[in-house]
Symmetry: C2
Subunit: 261 residues, 2 copies
DNA sequence: ATTCATTGCGTTACACCGACACAATCTAAA
DNA sequence: TTTAGATTGTGTCGGTGTAACGCAATGAAT
């Protein structure tokens, strides 16, 4: 009924050039966490053709490191650079791919995907998670998806394919790593207050923390610089501002916060 | 000069059927840790054709979960079942594959790999690590490699392709996970003594631990059953034997040993 | 019987953690 | 201008776990 729009070049490219320019059967998916209004959110894209939300993902170029591919996806969507981005799991269930997603998408343009096309194969995907400053990102949708949204971690559900599970795994990883990696640098603006940092931790852990013990523990890691400024404007006592001490932060990223044993 | 032996069926199969039966461009590699003579060892295979040692690895069947593929490799090599096996990293550098390995191998049989054959492509590999009971395994080599060896972790070097790096990453992961996962069940015989368990931890961490504190900490995890038997035969006081409490062990595997936060 | 390394169990000092107290501060309302 | 109310900065205290070390018991070798 609806008049077919003409097929966008990037989509055509996938069908025609995918086979020779992209690594077969493997993709990357990015769980991009952002923090806003004291809530942890995830960047999702809407595939109108299947009426579902999905994670931003992409394919791996023939001569591209898979980590670079994930970074390219992240950068393309958010415009951000120098972001904490980490592999966390490989999803290799043979039934996870759903060709219907692609069929429906191309149907919008009245295009039928040829049998045995590169796109209609089983894909194994590598999950990455990233932490970004909500306020610094400028999100771009692309030809496959026209809408995006930051969706509260509590309200994520009914995503495309196995993306719910991917997010669950990402969140698990993030929570575990919170215990031994310094998290927060990318999720918060450069200057932030201790209560803001605490809210972030509480959102990730989904758990209230004691204000005073949190501060003591955080300062104990020695990765923060206390500034001689306060954040005025709130209706209460003005809290001090902090920044991350880049050098010590990087060191902690490599060596972990404790060491234990 | 040397008379060409005839090409073994599994190798021929790779060339001829790989394209239709195996997932393209993805492999799995297993870092199999064993414990013997108070040292941590890794199972390596020798590729005579390239005169280098390599990790046991394999490909993923078209309809096979990638985790099952890794498990299949582990089981094929060791004959063991019900083993702790975990993904730890994806190695996706575009230059990591080295077609020369395959060319040399097939040259042994006077066979030239056709251009653009399935085998001669870039492979992205998923690293898995496993912990096994050295004494329970019966190692099998296969048609690609004729020799195997347990090589001391300290002496691993100059492996094929990026396998040194893969092992380094595996060891890093193992050390990190030691702090929050119960390790040891698969590396030791069913019954073991506290000093034996300690030696294992010391081998993994490459660090001496205090005997008395180690015991207290271990018992504190409440994943061990103390038996009413001792290990006689040593030239000294007979230490008590322990087993892992399976139920609590599994629970700790899921939830971690601490929880922190 | 004696020797001696090893094991089982215990002690002490110290750091860290959770729970809570109290004073200082900032804005908004009175 | 003063007061109220919520929030922040700093400190205390008891419990817990850890590192470092002591000492008696054990068991094979001498």
């Amino acid at each position: 009924m609806a008049k077919s729009k003409s097929l966008p070049a990037p989509l055509k490219h996938l069908l025609v050039k995918g086979n020779e320019q992209l690594h077969p059967g493997i993709s990357v998916d990015c769980v991009i966490f952002g923090f806003h209004d004291n809530a942890l959110k995830i960047l999702l894209l809407n595939l109108e053709s299947v009426k579902k939300w999905s994670l931003p993902g992409g394919f791996v170029l023939n001569n591209e490191d898979i980590n670079d591919a994930a970074y390219r996806v992240l950068n393309l969507r958010t415009g951000l650079d120098n972001i904490f981005l980490q592999q966390f799991h490989v999803f290799g269930n043979p039934n996870r791919s759903d060709a219907k997603v692609h069929h429906l998408k191309f149907q919008e343009y009245g295009v039928k995907i040829p049998k045995n096309n590169w796109l209609i194969q089983r894909f194994i995907t590598v999950g990455y998670y990233a932490l970004i400053d909500f306020t610094a990102a400028t999100i771009k949708a692309d030809s496959y998806d026209s809408k995006f949204a930051w969706i509260d971690i509590e309200k994520v559900e009914n995503l495309m394919m196995d993306h719910d599970y991917i997010i669950e795994k990402a969140l698990q990883t993030l929570r575990t790593q919170l215990a031994y990696l310094p998290i927060g640098k990318n999720l918060l603006p450069k200057k932030f207050t201790m209560p803001e940092l605490q809210k972030l931790y509480e959102a990730i852990l989904n758990k209230k923390l004691d204000r005073r013990n949190f501060q003591r523990k955080m300062l104990g890691f020695e990765i923060l610089n206390k500034l001689n400024e306060t954040r005025k404007g709130g209706a209460h006592k003005a809290p001090f501002l902090y920044t991350f001490n880049d050098k010590k932060y990087q060191k902690a990223l490599k060596e972990g916060l404790y060491g234990s044993w």
